[in-house]
């Protein structure tokens, strides 16, 4: 077997589909039109008025408040889902209970459900007039709730395969030497899962930073209080304030790039869903 992730040279005589310059050219053209060109436009426009103007937009009080809120809430949400995601992955792999298959399938619901529907769904239960008597709408708690919902699958789906592959003999050895279940988990299982938890958390963070649809109905979008970064960008576009929208977009874009770039560097890309 060829070692994984080692670049292999093109094999002479390998099928030429896509290899032919035309194929590669078409692909590059497609990706350029769909992805690269628009993003280049954002970068270019954000610095239209020079770096000074860019800095003025980014450091505007409302923009700073929105970016700070997004980052702080995303960190909180990712920490919560790193914990619960690991717990859920654990029970899906190591536990045995009726309906486990069903629960496993349901994990991907936040991914399959349109984000706007996620907002409506959460409001139906935790909003005004809901049956539980809680009303989170127009509070920061509602943003946390929405972000928890949409980022739930990442850590679960990142940890699950690693847990399946994890050799249990180490744990058995530790247990036979007298370690209690929590010691075994802390000293043996957790260190093995840590890279998967971190990469899942990183993806969840990138998603939380950019989340818009599930938040927009539920948070009330009050500047300085419940307005997150993407909602700020949206309202600046609506107000025809393109420089401000572009500047904050650059901040969001940079955050996404850093996360994707780091994961690529670490070779821990697990974007692929549910497998």
């Amino acid at each position: 077997m060829t070692p994984r992730r080692r670049p292999r040279p093109s094999i002479p005589g390998a099928p030429r589909i896509g290899a032919a310059g035309i194929g590669r050219g078409l692909i590059t053209l497609y990706l350029s039109i769909i992805v690269l060109l628009p993003l280049a436009a954002v970068v270019a426009r954000s610095t239209d008025g020079g770096l000074g103007a860019f800095w003025n937009e980014v450091s505007a009080p409302e923009a700073v408040a929105a970016i700070r809120l997004t980052v702080v809430l995303s960190v909180i949400v990712v920490a919560i889902n790193a914990f619960f995601g690991t717990v859920v992955a654990w029970i899906l792999v190591r536990d045995e209970f009726p309906g486990r298959r069903f629960v496993n399938a349901v994990i991907d619901l936040p991914f399959a459900l349109p984000t706007i529907v996620a907002g409506v769904v959460l409001l139906a239960l935790y909003g005004k007039g809901g049956p539980v008597g809680i009303d989170v709408s127009f509070t920061r708690a509602s943003i946390v709730l929405a972000l928890l919902f949409v980022t739930l699958p990442f850590v679960v789906r990142s940890v699950q395969p690693v847990l399946i592959e994890l050799d249990q003999s180490m744990e058995e050895a530790a247990a036979s030497l007298g370690a209690g279940p929590f010691t075994v988990f802390r000293r043996i299982v957790l260190p093995n899962l840590a890279p998967a938890i971190i990469s899942g958390a990183a993806l969840a963070f990138a998603r939380a930073i950019g989340e818009f649809g599930s938040v927009v109905l539920i948070s009330g979008n009050t500047p300085f209080k419940t307005e997150v970064g993407p909602v700020y960008v949206f309202s600046q576009i609506e107000n025809d304030n393109v420089p401000a929208a572009a500047a904050v977009s650059i901040v969001l874009l940079a955050a996404a790039l850093v996360v994707v770039g780091l994961l690529n560097l670490l070779g821990r890309r697990r974007f692929s869903y549910a497998r």
Partner: protein, 283 residues
């Protein structure tokens, strides 16, 4: 690697941790899922149908609702085939060939996963909008991209781009090049090798990617919201219609349209599970 829980672990290891601890962990995990996912979803179905089917039917057969539904389908019908063909081509290029700029191409492919939909919307405005890079040229030639279908197609294509390629690449890697090399040694042309060897091997991964692409394309909100202008009965997709009904305090309309989308999401989940099982059997 399938994420499905797979067969139960042997009983010997299961017995080692005390029952109370196991039960505690189970209750925490399932309780979290119930509060965050299942209860809200159950609630919206209850709320939608609590007054019977009649009002729901009236709500979903409103002309604007029907138009929004078909517009969403139209966007899916355009973007999914596009992203499927290019997704497979990108997967083969990235996995089978080494060339300069390959890493950059891979990064470009992953970006839509991480970028905020509102940034996508803004980006398209800056290229194709009235004041955008191509704005003047497009206006002179009478082409409208923003606030019409082409812009919405671009936005949807952007956000749903990576799925087919990212699902196909691991399968291609696992397949290895020997079957393809064998075919080519026996005199098969590139296309023959692709149709008879490569495509049959990756077909379920591609189908899985198509399911994910469809779900993403159907549900896209932020980017399409900016690019479409949200013109009622013209550029309003189903997710935009949900928001419109919500903002007009039309609870029945909101819930009914949301439930339609939720049902499509549930269908997606079922398909994903069937396909995961199938790919595992084939592998």
């Amino acid at each position: 690697m399938p994420a499905d829980a797979g067969p139960a672990p042997p009983a010997s290891t299961a017995d080692r941790s005390p029952r109370a601890a196991r039960l505690g962990v189970r209750i925490i995990g399932l309780g979290y899922l119930a509060l965050l996912l299942l209860a809200p979803l159950a609630m919206i179905f209850y709320r939608t149908f609590e007054h019977g089917l009649g009002p729901v039917w009236t709500a979903v057969t409103q002309p604007n609702a029907i138009h929004a539904f078909w517009l969403s389908i139209e966007l899916v019908a355009i973007t999914v085939p596009l992203n499927t063909v290019f997704g497979v081509a990108i997967a083969i290029t990235l996995e089978r060939h080494r060339f300069r700029g390959r890493a950059a191409l891979g990064l470009l492919l992953d970006l839509p996963f991480a970028i905020s939909p509102v940034v996508v919307g803004l980006a398209l405005l800056l290229v194709y909008g009235t004041n955008g890079w191509f704005g003047t040229w497009l206006t002179d030639h009478g082409i409208t991209v923003i606030f019409s279908i082409p812009g919405m197609v671009l936005a949807t294509a952007f956000v749903s781009l990576p799925f087919v390629a990212r699902e196909t690449i691991p399968v291609l890697r696992e397949l290895g090049t020997s079957p393809e090399q064998a075919a080519s040694t026996l005199g098969a042309t590139g296309w023959q090798t692709f149709w008879r060897i490569t495509l049959p091997a990756i077909r379920w991964a591609v189908v899985y990617g198509v399911v994910l692409t469809t779900a993403r394309a159907l549900g896209e909100f932020g980017a399409v919201s900016i690019v479409s202008g949200r013109i009622e009965g013209v550029t309003q997709t189903l997710p935009l219609y949900v928001q419109d009904r919500f903002e007009n305090f039309d609870t029945t309309g909101t819930y009914a349209a949301a439930v339609v989308l939720a049902l499509l999401a549930l269908a997606t989940l079922v398909l994903m599970n069937v396909l995961t099982r199938r790919t595992r059997r084939a592998g």
